[in-house]
């Protein structure tokens, strides 16, 4: 479609597989005036910490940041649900002028008395960075008065990208780790990192590990509790999902506590199986674990395989566009789509780095478009040009796909369906099948002026 031009500043963030040279620019600030699909530092922190269900999450700033993140994620808890409430200091003009420390102090104290959380996270948003509140000092004061950890999360939106928010969240979690008792933790034990229990995913994965005979000390942060995070340094291995969000925490834990880590993904049969095998082989002294893992993978794959084949017979040759937050997820999705017989014609992410994009390039066929920090115009341009049948993304991408008559699968934190693990692969395939095969698309093929169907 020629009516959409690419901003000059953006050209280097778009690559067509097959072109030489490959010199994609990424990890930059979004272009001023672009409609980026990215969020901010605060968003990154909030995503990571949000599922800690028995902690108080207080957003320090004007109302918006808290209001827009109220209960939007599908992260489930098996117990307390304090995380689903949205607390804000709701700063008004007065505090913008005179500072918001007093407000923060009183708000925190009252909330802790009322809700009795096990810890509190205090998110500093943009304005706080400008008016110069000493958030750390207030947190220290309240912490000593109330006797629970009160942890500042420096997530001023303008001070970087979502990735910096992940870092701030990892820093916050790290202050808790190592403060609990590790008594009773066995040798075949892990922490699951970067798994947020969307639609109950963490529970499914935890169940796999249980069946394998592997002890899960903590999940960060799906359905997690402060107490479990505090003792997570007792685990013998960190199993990290997703590229950006929790890798840093694993590295910090390795350095301080000597806990090794491996990177995995639970999206798709192939990657899920590999994840479980990798963990099993880490505990190679215990050969039972590997045996049980093999049995488990076989059982789980057998359960879904026949259905997958049915979906595949329809989806074969269909074309998918992927635009997700982190590039690591895109890798898994490309593989999962391949398992369904589909090809990927566009792959992009909000926050990938050059290494990620090189991997993407190597995974994709010639002609595939690879995008960093795309905007709706670019996405629409390419899904039409590349004749996509399916778009995988988040809420902000959905209307772009729908307007252009392309099926859609939500793969973001807002979804309520578990897409991880084997059962998740089945759900994913079913969703993809349902949206691509829906009869509604056939009705759209009318000229816009309402004249007769062609």
């Amino acid at each position: 479609m020629s009516n959409i031009s690419i901003l000059k500043e953006r050209e280097k963030q778009i690559y067509h597989k097959g072109e030489e040279p490959f010199d994609m620019v990424c990890e930059t600030k979004s272009t001023a005036g672009a409609v980026s699909q990215r969020a901010c530092v605060f968003c990154g922190s909030r995503v990571v910490l949000y599922p800690v269900a028995d902690a108080l999450h207080l957003v320090h700033g004007p109302i918006g940041c808290a209001a827009y993140t109220w209960d939007i994620r599908g992260a489930l808890s098996s117990g307390p649900e304090l995380h689903r409430k949205s607390f804000s200091t709701d700063l008004r003009e007065r505090q913008i002028i005179f500072g918001g420390e007093k407000q923060l102090y009183h708000a925190l104290a009252a909330l802790i008395d009322k809700h009795e959380p096990k810890a509190a996270f205090v998110y500093a948003t943009c304005i706080v960075g400008i008016i110069g509140d000493d958030v750390d000092a207030v947190c220290r004061k309240v912490s000593s008065e109330k006797g629970i950890p009160v942890i500042p999360v420096h997530s001023e939106g303008f001070k970087g990208t979502k990735k910096d928010g992940y870092k701030a969240a990892c820093d916050a979690l790290f202050t808790l780790i190592g403060t609990g008792s590790i008594e009773g933790i066995g040798p075949n034990s892990i922490n699951i990192l970067g798994e947020f229990n969307i639609g109950g995913e963490a529970w499914m994965i935890e169940e796999y590990y249980k069946k394998m005979g592997v002890e899960v000390v903590s999940i960060m942060t799906g359905d997690s509790r402060v107490e479990k995070i505090k003792r997570s340094h007792g685990a013998r291995l960190n199993v990290v999902q997703c590229s950006g969000s929790m890798l840093q925490l694993a590295q910090m834990m390795e350095k301080k506590f000597g806990i090794p880590y491996i990177r995995v993904s639970y999206f798709g049969m192939e990657d899920t199986a590999r994840a479980l095998y990798d963990v099993a082989s880490h505990f190679h002294d215990n050969t039972d674990i590997m045996d049980r893992t093999k049995a488990l993978v076989k059982e789980e794959v057998d359960k879904i395989y026949p259905d997958i084949q049915v979906f595949k017979s329809y989806l074969k040759g269909k074309r998918a566009a992927i635009y997700v937050g982190g590039a690591f997820k895109a890798f898994s999705l490309i593989k999962a789509l391949k398992a369904l017989g589909m090809t990927t014609i566009l792959a992009g992410s909000q926050t990938g780095n050059s290494e990620d994009y090189e991997i993407l390039r190597d995974m994709c066929d010639d002609g595939t478009v690879i995008l960093d920090d795309a905007n709706p115009l670019e996405l629409s341009k390419y899904i039409v040009e590349k004749k996509a049948d399916l778009f995988i993304g988040g809420v902000k991408e959905r209307p772009v796909a729908y307007k252009m008559g392309v099926g859609f699968c939500d793969h973001n934190h807002e979804r309520k369906t578990p897409l991880a693990g084997f059962q998740g692969m089945y759900n994913f395939a079913k969703e993809v099948y349902g949206t691509v095969k829906s009869p509604v698309w056939s009705l759209l093929k009318r000229p816009e002026d309402g004249t007769k169907t062609v």
Partner: protein, 458 residues
Amino acid sequence: MKNTALKKEHYEATTNACKLCTPLGASLAFKGVRGAISLMHGSQGCSTYIRRYLISHFKEPIDIASSNFSEDTAIFGGGANLKKSVANVIRQYKPELVGISTTCLSETIGDDVPMILNGIRHDADGAPLPPIVHVSTPSYSGTHADGYVGAVRALVDALSIRKNHEIEPSMVNIFPGMYSPADLRYLKEILEDFAIPYRMLPDYSETLDGGPWTTYHKIPHGGTSVSEIADMASAQASIEFGYVTRKGTTAAGLLSSRFNIPAYNLGMPAGVRATDRLFDLLSELSGNLIPDRHARERERLLDSYVDGHKYLFGAKAVIYGEEDLVAGMFAFLTEIGITPILCASGGTSGKLAETLESLRPEGYDEPITVLQAADFGQIEDAALGTGADMFVGNSKGYSITRKMGIPLVRVGFPIHDRVGGPRIHHIGYRGCQELFDRVTNALLDVKQEATGVGYSYM
């Protein structure tokens, strides 16, 4: 009157806000201008969150650009970023208007946006630029409802000018509240049936509720054009809807003081009485009788009021949302025999209680409990002991109605847990009819369930 305005002590946190921030309202208003692109001056997150929030309700592509502050910008000022942003959105979107709202960040560091914009115009050196309209929307004073009103006023302030060319002398200006696209389409239908020429601002009835596309529209079709906004300076009258809007702060107020155009403030036309006032006024301004099909729509509505009244009398409802919506729903519910047991808004005008009191129908002697500047935490605390039969408001009250085991009749914005939010009618006889049926059926549903025998005949 019982007004437990529960004035919050300054140190209390907000729990589950019953309001949104100012630039959201401004962006919504800009969506009602033809060919407009919205640009938020501040950091990335705000515009992305606001887009996601709006998209989840309207289910349409909603592009809002951001000037993408970085640390440097926050220290040295946002002038350079804003300039670059304006140039980039013009290049990429070729808009007919650029609507700029500010976030708390750019407001706090004190960017002088009008001056920066003058600089941009100066640098353009005569090269054609689309109109660039700026509205100041710091969220720490006001809510999304204020951003909406403010943006409409800013548009009129910047663009409405008396021109030499002929404008129909009977033309009226219409300034709707934050209604659904379906409401706006219906409003236009009414005006057309009265054969009264009009200019309506904003009009997002198509831009936020359109059909599928065969080619991508950078900016969705529809909306009030810049030249139509210019015409507004030549109208015979302005009609605005807003029970709590402060006089003189609105677009109609501005046109009245600048061009002597009489401004009629009607409040939200929800319920028969309020709608009658609108139809009577249109009849007066157009010199035409109420069009037949609307008169008949009204008749059918009254007939249904009679048919359903027994199911409703004395039922207790909690109403919440923007102040104007709350006032509108109060007027509607009290006229069908429902008792609004609690009326709450996150709005900060401070006028909700007196407004509701002024809407008290004759013979209605229940106390009116009002929560102003409220959040859902307070609404929940206040509602739990009331024995309320239903909530009337947006999706965000669902967690409370679920807890209370009572129905939620979804109205207003946002509707994030159902399809069709943009197609809900709230105003006029038609909106009234739709709401009446939904409210009555919600109560019938409860009654039917409660019998426990599965009657299919109620």
